[in-house]
């Protein structure tokens, strides 16, 4: 059949293009311009070529922050995705429990990031915080200010508390969209609980899980506010993730050139990993 060509739809995309140009493309172009120059302020720039990129690629500090960030994202995905699925599977599908659960799940998502950080900073303190004080009273040597392991545990638990509900809500949306007929057929076939999950619920949740994995990966890989408020990147540099390091470099040290080069490398890695996630998961869907 002859395809009807109508290019008027492109005009509908124009407002988004303008918005993206101002919010993303122009800042990105500026960062690229900064990354090949040096400045001491006063809008004066000196050509540096690829020097900052070379410096970044040979910087132990950069690779250490990258390693910490990758480990953090891997842990976050490994906890939040299965936990989110588990909670969504056990949430009620009808009755008064539905709105109660949905509101409870949405609550952490409504709290601003810096407030979440402040809550956990106080919560974990061993002198006045409920968590820190209780753990200390029970005999645990917990102190997120001095101990890198405790700082990591606190930041991870905080992120799980803050963001698992996003995974839950997405999975729940996928689960409630499954028609009852699927469950009835499974019941007639005598399918086990596992078989229902593996062959009905999981495939039906796949699209929302793709979104959940992508969102949680990108968010955790770009995390800044919460760990900055709780640990400030410490103790030492143990919770200094890429974005915290970037802000230290750009704002704290006013090294705009190296910070811009770091931003671009960071951006390219986020772009690559997101593309890999997206391609693998969408093609798995196509193959099926």
């Amino acid at each position: 059949m002859e395809k009807t060509w109508n290019n008027k739809a492109w005009f509908m995309v124009l407002p988004v293009l303008v918005l993206v140009a101002f919010s993303a493309v122009i800042p990105l172009m500026t960062v690229v311009n900064y990354s090949v120059q040096d400045t001491f302020g006063g809008n004066q720039f000196f050509w540096a070529g690829a020097e900052w990129f070379e410096e970044m690629l040979h910087s132990d500090r950069f690779w250490a922050a990258m390693g910490r960030n990758l480990i953090f994202s891997a842990i976050i995905l490994a906890i939040q995705i299965p936990l989110g699925i588990f909670i969504a599977l056990n949430m009620p599908r009808k009755g008064w429990g539905v709105p109660v659960c949905l509101v409870l799940m949405a609550l952490p998502l409504l709290i601003p990031w810096n407030v979440v950080g402040t809550i956990w900073q106080v919560f974990g303190r061993i002198d006045i915080g409920l968590l820190g004080y209780t753990l200390h009273a029970l005999g645990f040597d917990y102190n997120y200010v001095n101990d890198p392991f405790d700082a990591w545990v606190t930041v991870i638990v905080m992120d799980v508390w803050h963001w698992t509900s996003l995974v839950v809500l997405l999975c729940y949306a996928g689960l409630v969209s499954i028609p009852d007929a699927f469950y009835q057929a499974a019941k007639i076939d005598g399918a086990s609980r596992w078989a229902v999950f593996r062959y009905i619920q999981l495939p039906k949740m796949q699209r929302v899980l793709l979104i959940a994995v992508l969102l949680r990966f990108m968010d955790s890989f770009m995390i800044y506010t919460e760990p900055f408020v709780v640990t400030g990147g410490g103790p030492g540099n143990s919770t200094t993730f890429l974005s915290i390091d970037l802000v230290k470099m750009a704002v704290g040290q006013f090294d705009l050139g190296p910070a811009a080069a770091m931003s671009i490398i960071y951006f390219l890695i986020v772009l690559l990993l997101s593309w890999v996630f997206y391609t693998v998961m969408t093609n798995y869907d196509v193959e099926k």
């Binding site: 172009m29 500026t30 311009n33 090949v36 690829a50 690629l57 390219l268």
Partner: protein
């Protein structure tokens, strides 16, 4: 309009103009020779022409970074390698 805060240089302007011309070129190519439908290449997944341009550009960026990190600041050979890589992507992916 004062754009001095954007700190433009001739090489970076040339870089962005090249990217822009590539996008325009892709549009012109598609207009005169439609063929942007997905196909399955050596990576065993569907790609359109736009996907292949994206893979080429992203891969080229990493080729340049790898060259810079492992070999040195003379990037002309990295550029040549990136062009060969992009041709390969458009031909086989």
């Amino acid at each position: 309009m004062d754009l001095s805060w954007m700190a433009w240089t001739l090489p970076t302007a040339a870089f962005f103009i090249t990217i822009f011309l590539m996008l325009v070129g892709m549009g012109v190519w598609e207009y005169f020779s439609p063929g942007g439908n997905p196909r399955v290449g050596i990576l065993r997944f569907e790609t359109t022409r736009g996907d292949r341009l994206f893979v080429s550009l992203l891969g080229s960026a990493f080729i340049h970074l790898a060259w810079l990190g492992l070999i040195g600041p003379n990037l002309w050979w990295a550029l040549a390698l990136a062009v060969v890589y992009a041709i390969g992507v458009f031909r086989f992916v």
